[in-house]
Amino acid sequence: MNGERMTAIKNGVKIGVGSVMAPAGLDPLVIKGDFPILSRIINGHKLIYLDNAATTQKPSCVISALRNYYENQNANVHRGLHTLAEEATAAFEATRKKVAEFIGSVKPEEIIYTRNATEAINLVAYSWGRHNLKPQDRIVLTEMEHHANLVPWIVLAKETGAELKFIPIDGDGLLDLENIDRIISEDTKLVALTHMSNVLGTINPVAEIARIAHHNGALVLLDGAQSVPHLPVNIKEIDADFYAFSAHKMLGPTGIGILYGRESILQKMEPFLFGGEMISEVDFEKATWNVLPWKFEAGTPNIADAVAYGSALDYLTDLGMEAVRSHEMDLTAYALRKLSELDSIKIFGPMDSRLRGGAISFVDRQIHPHDLATFLDSRGIAIRAGHHCAQPLMRRLGVGSTARASFYIYNTFEEIDEFVGAIAEARRYFVNE
């Protein structure tokens, strides 16, 4: 399986920059070969998958890990005294270690399995928020949050009497930090923001914001759903207290999410769900909680998907996240340039690819995003159209919905040419010019 993954790395020339070796570039055409679904024909055309911010496709190694688990290792974890149970437990815990390594060598005890990023954020809102917030406390968010990092805080604020404040965005889709010292006040208990926007692509200065938050005694939760899949992330350098993301947006299966929590904070938190697995001792009247991370993992977890997620992490590690970022930055710069050449297109978010990831939201002046998405689909091109679970941001941008193309390791410059070409074709189809 290792050989299969290794083929994806181009045996290109490594260019030395000082003593640091620049990562070898990715070869998306070789990578494509690892993704069976990418050879599908959709409406008579070869699939061009540009909806990676919603979910990514899965390489053969992940699919076969899933199958291998069920064919050879299936058992419940942490309780059996037989060989299969031991193997399943080892595979399940091995992924936890890989996740801990992947995001900057944190402790495996700080990694909690959830169903997805949304559940990870809800876990913090329930277990930490309900016990630590009181009226007049402040929760700071930004204007570019996904509903997953907005609705749990709206509900929590209502329940506890805490107030919500929002860091605004500027005309380029960057956070406007001008009044940050007034927004993050001494009353602020939590600053929760996205590391990278799923709509604007903006990569936020999270380390800087974390420093200001900590200075004011607040904790920091980062929504990493769009960042961990696309950027090298080091949680220790950022100094985040909580960090949430989903496996399915980074080549892994659906049904697995991750919450990183700082050990000292997790220790003091109450469990989220109650039942088996999360206890150390139960009497008829009382129970004591298990140690980290199992305290937060009540019931039989999603073992098979966690195990297969380990293969996704291996795949990305072999490619190297620097190389992933560099490939996507190139694609993004190219797509921004090509889209800008179409007069009818308005792009939201920063135009400098160094400040953003490869999720590009745009509208055509005449064609509604729905019609555009339907048209592109008839050419085998999958994009997203809608409000992207960020309705307040849509209102802030003054649109009901946008079209969004988002890239990943298997996308090519040629695909971007086809995508932009199909938009021009859609104009001939829909617009009388």
Binding site: D371, T374, A385, H387, Q391, M394, G400, S401, F430
Partner: protein, 154 residues
């Protein structure tokens, strides 16, 4: 050119999309309603002038895709001058056509039959239904003497 695509964006539909009917604002309409499709952000404003038991005039303004705009335009065209009972029968028939529901009575839908192509695109059915849901909701409120409110396809 893809057949399904052309079946969706038929000439008649595109004609309504490019030149929507019912674009004149009304004076003192009996019904003034607002519709929205929260999933995609489409919004619609509707005014109806009622004379006795007939729709004397209608204004529809839709900020949305080709399907929702043209459906609203066809609605304006077909219901103008019809009795409220007829309007409700047409609305029921359109809904049945789009959602595959039970057809209660056979009626001539005219231009509206082009909306059949939408059935192949399940996510777009709501777009086609936005104006009709707003209409039905408005008439119900009107007949019960209620203030009309925002109608939603959700």
């Amino acid at each position: 050119m893809s057949e399904a695509l052309d079946a969706l964006y038929r000439d008649i539909l595109m004609d309504h999309y490019r030149n929507p009917r019912g674009k004149r604002k009304l004076l003192n309409p009996e019904i003034h309603n607002h519709g929205e499709n929260p999933l995609c952000g489409d919004e619609l404003e509707m005014e109806i002038k009622i004379d006795g038991d007939r729709v004397a005039d209608i204004y529809v303004s839709c900020a949305g895709c080709a399907v929702s705009v043209s459906s609203g335009s066809m609605l304006a065209e077909i219901i103008k001058g019809k009795s409220l009972a007829e309007v409700k029968r047409i609305a029921r028939a359109v809904k049945a056509m789009l959602t595959g529901g039970e057809v209660i009575d056979e009626i001539e839908l005219g231009d509206l039959e082009v909306l059949e192509g939408v059935k192949k695109f399940p996510v777009r059915v709501k777009c086609a239904l936005l104006s009709w849901a707003t209409l039905v909701n408005s008439l119900e409120s009107y007949e019960h003497g209620l203030e009309t409110k925002v109608s939603s396809t959700e």
